[in-house]
Symmetry: C2
Subunit: 228 residues, 2 copies
């Protein structure tokens, strides 16, 4: 059985092999073979999505013991999305093992992000149902352990602007305006300077894009308000 190769890639041997078979079975295959009485991977995908959200949420909470719920939620959204999940599915070579209908086969279904991401979630549910939550936790942890520290930085940066907005809405009732003060350097290597000016606070931030310069300015504003 070819699926034993997939098990090797997953570093997980199924007690119940029908689970991994179901996880790899796309609805297009079932629609073409109604007589086979087999199930597609959509129910598993539904369950796997929930397992993944819980485990990633828990891993982020452990990694970042002090950041608020809204940031955790944004960071999770950056990790658990179709593109990211398809990338992991490709790394695991899941595409090769999918059972697809002929139409999907012809339109390169094996390489589609949506099909790969769904199959990856279905594999997670298959592990969860096979030997329980802790196995699924370990599997997800091993797939995401390198991504979590790497992906969190932009998510945290992003937060300075929203954090500043929240603070200002509560305390000052005036929204902060970001003003581009300067833009210098050649097109491929620009530097932006952005200022924020409100109440008696005037700060400037710099960055390689308007966005990062605004984030930098927001960070400095929060610092001058003694909030971070």
């Amino acid at each position: 059985m070819q699926l034993s190769k997939l098990e090797k890639k997953l570093s997980y041997i199924f007690k119940d092999k029908t689970l991994i078979q179901e996880a790899c079975r796309h609805s297009s295959f079932v629609n073409e073979h109604p007589d086979k009485l087999v199930r597609d991977n959509e129910r598993l995908e539904f369950l796997g999505d929930a397992v993944l959200n819980l485990v990633i949420g828990h891993l982020l909470m452990k990694q970042y013991p002090d950041i608020p719920e809204g940031d955790l939620s944004r960071m999770r959204a950056n990790l658990v999305n179709e593109i990211q999940l398809a990338k992991i599915a490709r790394f695991l070579g899941i595409g090769k093992y999918l059972e697809l209908g002929k139409g999907e086969e012809q339109t390169k279904g094996r390489e589609k992000n949506s099909i790969l991401a769904d199959a990856f979630e279905a594999v997670i549910a298959a592990i969860y149902l096979d030997t329980g939550f802790n196995s699924a936790f370990d599997f997800i942890d091993s797939q995401f352990s390198k991504l979590i520290p790497k992906m969190s930085v932009p998510a945290l940066n992003y937060d300075y602007k929203s954090k500043l907005q929240e603070v200002i809405q509560v305390n000052h009732k005036v929204m902060p305006g970001y003003k581009i003060e300067n833009e210098s350097g050649p097109d491929h290597d620009k530097t932006f300077v952005v200022s924020i000016n409100f109440d008696n606070i005037k700060v400037t931030g710099t960055g390689k894009s308007k966005k990062t310069a605004e984030q930098d300015a927001a960070k400095k504003a929060l610092e001058s308000l003694n909030i971070i």
Copy 2:
């Protein structure tokens, strides 16, 4: 410690009491006491929401081994929502044990659905973090075991109409129209007859509301198409 009474209601004794304390601490309390250096329940609520979604998803899958993922998803949404969670929180008497700020206390925060639902999710996460997934699973199972069979029926009924719509869009390309054929009986006890007429299929459904009559008609249409 009063919280031991809550533990009794939950049928769960915490190894780490700080977890249940945190679960009961609303942000309004922390905002009024920044000096206390304690955490509100929002991070726990974030985690608890994910635990709840997974466990309810799994319980629904077990209870309904044959229904498709879309229906499971709708059924879960009917179970995991603010009103439903607040109802369970009230049954468990969680409101009494909340730490609230003065403002929330005055505006009857203890009775608000949003605060109660969030605290219930936080309690779930507290159990999950205290002794692991299986404890949280058992706790949620015991709280929802009576609701799952009860709430699923309208959700399943609801599905006949959407199922019919899906089928018709794929196979016939014409959307089904529902026509009220008859409405009889006194105001408090009406009966509706609704028909669906497309291609060579004509069926009628009856019910105590337009909606249930439409569902009944959709069900009969699916039966006549040999789909259910």
